[in-house]
């Protein structure tokens, strides 16, 4: 990666980290309700892949740990935070919440909360691209535990059969909710499972963004060139629990500390410092600047935005409720 790209991505990753940490705080303050799945520790995965792809051009779909993926595709952090606050200005107008961030203008096709649910949707998006003849690709980010759902296998089979332009990115953070991969999955290395479907698959370190980027470039190029699907497994770790009601009793503090030694932001920061492109003081200033932006703009926007109106409770259930279209009325147009 070029130095200027690495510096830009470091800035983005710091925003992603601080955004998520601020969400945690807002949740404790009961400003955010429902479930909240946070991303700290995994930032190099989404950032590395999307640096190799074309954010805003390629279609991205994911599970409920979705805030950072949306922002990376181009969603406004203010609208994402407003969504978490349940406000009318939120990215899904307060109807979705943390697990259902959408920004279709930026081709972020949503966060879905049934584990594995996005697999066939991603393949369907790829099918639409294939029919329309575009050069976009469909990228599906999910965790390792999603691969134990039946639709994982059903989707891989169809994607290979029909040579669909879809990249499956498996962020293997070693836990499915509170059960470790060794205790839930017969094959720990997920890319090995994909061999059964004749789909090229690769595995790499998910903490070093440059490693992710290099592997992702190969993956993205393969799919964009019309060679069909590809599966990329990134070995990573989430610092927080699965969601907010999680005391992390299923893993040791030693294990957590070990992974924090390989923090994706610090790896990139230290490399830039070593390369003479950044100083520690500049990094600390970046953190402060990011916090100020989050507080003064992002949180403020969410706080000050209006709630949805109760009169609009049933808006968005059906697309064609009150229209006079012939297929609703049977009368000639």
């Amino acid at each position: 990666m070029k130095i200027e790209d690495k510096k830009r991505v470091l800035r983005e990753m710091v925003l992603h980290r601080r955004f998520e940490e601020r969400c945690y705080q807002a949740y404790i303050e009961r400003k955010i309700g429902g479930f909240l799945h946070l991303y700290p520790g995994q930032e190099a995965c989404c950032n590395g892949v999307m640096e190799a792809a074309r954010p805003g051009h390629d279609y991205v779909i994911t599970g409920y740990r979705d805030h950072v993926h949306a922002i990376k595709c181009g969603a406004d952090p203010k609208e994402v935070m407003a969504e978490l606050y349940g406000k009318e200005t939120g990215s899904s107008k307060g109807r979705g919440g943390s697990m259902h961030i959408f920004d279709t203008d930026k081709r972020f096709m949503g966060g879905y909360a049934l584990v594995g649910g996005p697999f066939p949707l991603a393949a369907g998006i790829a099918k639409a691209i294939q029919l329309k003849g575009g050069d976009e690709i469909s990228i599906c980010f999910l965790g390792d535990a999603a691969n134990n759902q039946g639709v994982f296998h059903e989707t891989l089979n169809m994607a290979a059969l029909w040579k669909l332009p879809v990249l499956f990115v498996c962020e293997n953070n070693l836990y499915g909710i509170g059960t470790s991969i060794e205790r839930s999955t017969a094959v720990v290395h997920q890319h090995k499972r994909v061999a059964a479907y004749n789909i090229p698959a690769d595995e790499c370190d998910g903490q070093d963004i440059e490693v992710v980027y290099e592997h992702a470039r190969k993956a993205v190029d393969h799919v964009r060139a019309g060679n069909g699907p590809y599966f990329l497994e990134l070995m990573t770790y989430r610092y927080r629990g699965h969601s907010m009601s999680d005391s992390r009793g299923y893993r040791s503090r030693e294990e957590e500390e070990l992974w924090k030694q390989r923090d994706p932001i610090f790896i990139l920061r230290d490399r830039l410092i070593k390369e003479g492109a950044l100083t520690m003081a500049e990094f600390e200033a970046l953190e402060k600047e990011t916090d100020a932006y989050i507080e003064n703009e992002v949180i403020r926007f969410a706080e000050e935005s209006p709630e949805p109106r109760i009169e609009d409770l049933e808006k968005y259930v059906l697309a064609e409720r009150d229209t006079q279209l012939p297929w609703l009325t049977g009368k000639a147009a």
């Binding site: 879905y112 066939p120 039946g150 012939p326 297929w327």
Partner: protein, 327 residues
């Protein structure tokens, strides 16, 4: 007017819509090279090719989700689920993805897809191939449910469902694909909402949908000829949304109601129609409404037991006579 079969009507709707719009596709098990279990997609594979007429693996959850994903980008998939019993495997995608995506995205995404499936009890297909599942689908916000009782409706409802921006579930019937009926020669869109008076009457309303419309029509004939009772038959081709106005209007005229369904009674179409009658026109009633429905059993294989489990026109006649104190 052409006199064609139910399956031919469905095939014609597919063909017209696929010829008009290259983004209309169809997918399902055996629908292409094999021509479809009920011939509803006969000849389309030869005409439109494998990219648009997709023979899918036997993976209902997977291919239904794939169709829904394609619809996010404006593709209009008509997804055939060979038997409604297999739709259980696809319901996560139908309900959690297609029906909810518009709401949970704040109106940004819609899933304009059509799910077609053969429901109903046929002949001795046993517990896992005889389900009537319309009552499951009609309770889901964001999903339209229609069910054609004739070739005309089968053609017009599919045409409308393909054009509609909402996901639509079309509940067909295994025993009706060879039924013949008049279908307009010109293009015809059947409304996705409302109900139809299949036979006008004054003394009692018989509500039916899909196959049970035919039990009601036969029962009305018998009631008229043998008992001098004038029955109105209302065809509830739209199960979601149900036509509150149509139900109210007919019951306010006849003051009596019988609801005939092939489904089992609990949480069924009958329960729902009676609830609407109570809410809309309770004081118009001269007698308590009655449900005619299947026995609450997994469908038996044995021919005699199966016949005993499923109602028919005679059960509708009996219910009406009871309502009038004549049985």
């Amino acid at each position: 007017m052409a006199n064609i079969m139910y399956w031919e009507a469905i095939q014609r709707a597919h063909d017209e819509e696929m010829a008009r719009d290259p983004l209309v596709i169809c997918m399902g098990e055996d629908i292409g090279v094999a021509g479809g279990t009920y011939k509803a997609t006969k000849g389309l594979y030869e005409k439109y090719g494998p990219l648009r007429v997709m023979d899918t693996p036997i993976s209902e959850g997977g291919f239904t989700g794939l169709g829904i994903g394609a619809s996010f980008l404006g593709v209009r998939p008509v997804i055939e689920i060979m038997s409604v019993n297999f739709a259980w495997l696809a319901m996560d995608q139908m309900f959690n993805s297609a029906a909810k995506v518009r709401y949970m995205s704040g109106g940004q995404l819609t899933a304009p897809c059509v799910f077609r499936s053969a429901g109903g009890a046929a002949h001795q297909l046993g517990a896992q191939h005889s389900a009537r599942m319309e009552k499951v689908f009609m309770g889901i916000a964001g999903l339209r449910v229609v069910t054609p009782s004739s070739p005309r409706q089968a053609y017009g409802l599919l045409k409308s469902a393909i054009r509609c921006d909402d996901p639509v579930f079309i509940n067909e019937h295994e025993l009706m694909y060879n039924m013949k009926g008049e279908v307009p020669d010109g293009e015809y869109f059947h409304p996705l909402e409302g109900s139809e008076i299949a036979r006008a009457g004054t003394d009692v309303t018989l509500f039916g949908y899909n196959v049970s419309v035919h039990w009601c029509l036969k029962a009305a004939e018998i009631l008229d000829k043998q008992y001098g009772i004038s029955a109105e038959v209302v065809d509830l081709y739209s199960l979601s949304p149900l036509d509150r106005e149509g139900i109210k209007k007919s019951v306010s005229k006849t003051h009596r109601a019988v609801i005939a369904e092939e489904d089992e009674a609990p949480v069924g179409v009958g329960s729902e129609v009676i609830a609407i009658i109570n809410e809309e026109c309770f004081f118009e009633l001269d007698a308590a409404p009655v449900r005619v429905h299947s026995a609450l059993v997994p469908q038996p294989y044995n021919h005699t037991l199966e016949k005993a489990a499923i109602p028919d026109h005679e059960d509708v006649v009996k219910a009406v006579l009871k309502l009038f104190g004549k049985a």
